[in-house]
Amino acid sequence: MLSYAATDGPDWNTLGDYSENLIEIHDLKYSRGHRAIFDGLNLTIKRGEITALMGPSGTGKTTLLRLITRQLIPEQGAIFVDGIDISTLNQTELYQLRQRFGMLFQNGALLTDLSVFENVAFPLREHTKLSNRLIRHIVLTKLHAVGLRGAADMMPAQLSGGMARRVALARAMVMDPEILIYDEPFVGLDPISLGVIVRLVRRLNDALGITSIVVSHDVEEIATVADCSFLLSDGKVAASGSPDELRTANSELVRQFMHGMADGPVAFHYQAPGYEEQLLGRDIE
């Protein structure tokens, strides 16, 4: 694997216990205001696999990704990445670790004052001293992979949502990271791009030995791409296993989620006072 990062990667042969689990989360607690988002979450992500995180909207999938990358700090519990407790890192070490990640944000998060080309080139320009020619070569290759080489000179504001996400994907993989995190990569893509992106995720993973974490609601796509999936609910892992295992699991919650039923253990509604009561205005303070 090519690595343009200034930092040295770890020596894969001396990693001992952690060689199989790339990310381990132990007894994680995190809350927003008074609402506990995670309450005793345990989860491991295996090296070289595609791991899917699923769960109803608002369960905290994005929050979990931010915790794993220490954009947020948990109230309790430990998160290990490659055997390192990330809460112990100082800023420099954290940035070194982050260079090994690539992250696709839910809304793309392209830098609005830079063109598509410069957006993808951004990490290269910040972290390497490559020549312009080489940067151009790398960037165009990555843009080509997501089918947007022709959009290189456009500004992010001129892109559609799906295009922006694909550019963001190109940017996430431009440094050839070891771990790629995708927050809802399949939303807003037409069937053709969807197929291409799904295959791209798979190919990056298999050909380059990347570990991938994919957040998605899309049960069908996840089934085709993931090696292992976790279903999050109520601040915990409600179920885990291969997509097939989940599909055939006889837990009610899993069935509800995998088959998209409105009734079941997962409430479709965010916690609220009784519908009738609220409409009739009885509980207004």
Partner: protein, 257 residues
């Protein structure tokens, strides 16, 4: 009653906390500044251009009219004592020592400061700052410090331009309109004006440059990451900058007298 007291106490605590955080933020910007100035000067130049070019037209137009009004006022008052020749000096002193730096800073806040705040607030709201964090790029260093330095550098120049166009406006009114002798109009300035006056103006515009820039950047960085939050932050930028500028103006003037 206890509730009122508790509210007051909480607000006071909140204020102290925010103010402390603000100072730390300011120090953080300063700490990164030398490195950015020496290694990423291009980013700073771009921001000087952004903020400076944005404010230039408004600064020149306002400067012209402020100078013209000063000359009008000065002439009509000086005429009582037959001291019309002093019109130029009056306008010069008012512009260089007070109105130049103060008006420039307030116009800067309204034009460039709001733009800085909303740019940064929007970058935050659309996860651009988080994305930088994830690319192991420090957003404070990469985005905030250059904007801050751009404002700091642009302000003294803008103030100088304001005063210069102001003197031009004063010249038009005094010399062209009221027929004050052009020689005495300008020579009085040479005779009466001291370099200390100019220095006072420079000191003020430098201090205001720091204040206006750090406030704009801070408000953007701490805006609530929503459209409404960013809107509110830009308003706060103008209000807080205007107040701080006037307070600083008083303190500096008092200290230099």
């Amino acid at each position: 009653m206890t509730r009122v007291l508790r509210d007051i106490r909480n607000n006071l605590l909140e204020f102290v906390r925010t103010f402390g955080a603000f100072q730390l933020f300011f120090l953080r910007l300063l700490r990164h500044s030398p490195a950015i100035l020496s290694t990423r000067f291009g980013l700073v130049i771009k921001q000087v251009y952004n903020t400076g070019a944005q404010s230039l037209v408004i600064i020149m137009v306002c400067g012209l009219f402020v100078g013209a009004v000063l000359a009008l006022q000065a002439y009509s008052n000086m005429a009582i004592f037959n001291a019309e020749d002093w019109t130029g000096v009056a306008a010069h002193l008012a512009l260089v020592k007070e109105l130049g730096p103060v008006m420039t800073a307030i116009l800067f806040a309204a034009r460039a400061g709001t733009a800085l705040t909303s740019e940064i607030g929007l970058m935050k709201a659309t996860d651009q700052l988080s994305a930088m964090e994830m690319m192991a790029v420090n957003p404070v260093r990469r985005e905030l410090v250059p904007r801050f330095l751009g404002g700091v550098i642009a302000m003294p120049f803008l103030a100088a331009i304001f005063s210069a166009t102001g003197m031009f406006g004063a010249h038009i009114v005094g010399v062209e309109l009221f027929q004050v002798d052009v020689g005495s109009f300008w020579q009085q300035i040479q005779l009466i004006g001291e370099s200390a006056d100019v220095n006072e103006g420079i000191i003020k515009s430098v201090v205001f440059g720091f204040a206006a820039s750090v406030i704009a950047v801070w408000e953007g960085y701490n805006a609530m990451p929503t459209a409404e939050g960013v809107g509110r932050a830009t308003t706060r930028t103008v209000v807080i900058t205007a107040i701080s500028i006037l307070v600083f103006d008083f303190m500096i003037t008092a200290a230099l007298i």
